[in-house]
Amino acid sequence: MNQFVNNAQALRLHIPEPQCRPGDAPDFGALRLPPAGGLPRPGFTADESTLRHLPYALIRVLDDDDAAVGEWRPNLGLERLCEGLRAMMLTRAFDEAMQRAQRKGKASFFIKSTGEEAVAVAQAYALDARDMLFPSYRQQGLLIARGWPIEQMMCQILSNSGDQLKGRQLPTMYSAREAGVFSLSGNLGTQFPQAVGWAMASALRGDTRIAASWVGDGTTAEADFHHALTFASVYRAPVILNVVNNQWAISSFAGIAGGERATFAARAIGYGMAGLRVDGNDFLAVHAATQWAAERARANAGATLIELYTYRAAAHSTSDDPSAYRPREEAAQWPLGDPIERLKRHLIRCEAWSESRQQALQQEVDEQVRAALRQAESLGVIGDTRIERDSLFDDVYKTLPAHLQAQREQLRKEG
């Protein structure tokens, strides 16, 4: 019935492999980085069919001379930029301190966001304080930029009696309803479609608040990513869906998630959704892209997928040693630099900042972190958490059912 293909060539499976492994010299030569400022900024209600080039472009505002250039340059006062610099530095100081605390055995685990501080801080700045955030574990900068007390975050990490989550969650899995930050999950990606649901509810109600959520490059492969984009597209939900492409997912490079064949922003196209790709280490560009997406959402023009192109400069977590799978020097050679350094240089260029103010600020945030940590540690650390044992049974349900009452009794008796 059917013909048989003769002399067909043998099939081959392609297994993606990063360019450099430990022992190799880092090489970002293949990265094609467009210059800053060249990309036009469409109106935020522009039809999706006119936006399909954006996922292949890269929104950049800070040029090689640290000047802010082009149509995407956000309308941000220098004072606000200085605040942003401070929030990023506080985030980094916080990360350093908590990593040290973990090494000393005071916390079981920690995750740094080093090199990615602009993502969280500039995005928080571009959103309204009442907008709802559904982050992953690497956007602690959102909480810090929103002014959530770092002591509170530290108590969560130390899992102590000051932790309003009662020591239940793995360190870094914050929850801060008051700050408009949803409870983090240890399961990758699950919060992405939840954010869409929240935004759908806000729109159902004729509210004005939008939602934003974050996943990593690796997490885009999860089902939740697809569900989020589908529902956001179908119902035109007022949500910003962010993919933080920091090049790595633990030991897997972005190619294992599909990054070899397309950008992550390009996923938007198939859902008829706006997709932006932005230099994630450029505070101004991140702010600009986020603001554009927020305006689009607020105008009922639909969701935007933003790929934040950055680099995970630190280990995946305190359980990880990246020198086992990538060249040690790769982080330092990331062509898009360090977000704090770049914003600092821009501010200095604008004569709104100086190296000495930078040093003073560094001392200030370090001291703030030290003081907060002292405070937090006084409420307990892992292994000596001072959390009421009975609390184990609370909050499984709104009220304690009979079988859990019985189990609580048993624990009290048997220890």
Binding site: S175, A176, G197, L204
Partner: protein
Amino acid sequence: MPVMNMIQAINSALDVMLERDDDVVVFGEDVGYFGGVFRATAGLQQKYGRMRVFDTPIAEGGIVATAIGMGAYGLRPVTEIQFADYIYPAFDQLVSEAARLRYRSGGEFWAPLTVRAPCGGGIYGGPTHSQSPESLFTHVCGLKTVIPSTPYDAKGLLIAAIEDDDPVIFFEPKRLYNGPFDGHHDRPVTPWSKHAASEVPDGHYAIPLGKAAVVRPGSEVTVLAYGTMVHVALAAVHESGVDAEVIDLRTLMPLDIDGIAASVARTGRCVIVHEATRTSGFGAELMAVVQERCFWNLQAPIERVTGWDVPYPHALEWDYFPGPDRVAAALKRAMETS
């Protein structure tokens, strides 16, 4: 009092809740304009508009995930999974997210959602339109699991589920939609109108979650059942002439342990019936609870009558189904030994 079949009672519960509470939204595959493949949401979009009752993409995981987000916003979502067999794509969102949200956030957020799903077989649905996966959900702390057996209970329990601030999985035995099926598939169908529990008030009422109902008092043996099997058990009891106490569990989690234990303590014998496959089915937990609480009262081994440990087969579904004869055989065994 209006007479309703189970679908009408469920529709009425949704209607009442959409009317009373602006936070209630109803969505799922085909539930909007069309009113659901089993017609449970018929007329509701027309009455409450597309913003309250709407169709979704075919993505059970996305349905539950967005419901969780809506719940976090402050709504009270009621979602339909078209068949319980298709709840697995939503398993992660239910187990890892909905069930644990209140706990992990120290009470800051919770997921007040209701997930309706038609379950059970006996309609020639084959392996993928017949399953009873309730036992899986009872193992997941943070979830509640409900299975009604009559129109009256279906409405009252569904209203309670919707009003509950914890996530509730609400299984609807689809073989009961149109009548109190007693397992005799070769006999004419009895409609609900002949059954007392088809008298269903139009307005609001709630049946508390966690309370079982004694549907037939008796002294010789306690039969624990839920959903379709309540009616099968009643038929078997009737036919075997045993003076059995038949308990309809109604809610599996939280379970009415005290009610069960009180009955078995009295009768000294216990037969458990469910349609789901046997191994690690909810019958196992019931057996465990009964022997923990009533060990010294038991005069015979607890029996379980269940579906076999095979996928629900299409052509041979009546050989899979634990019908009245198999229940009667178990009753007999339970009564013989002492």
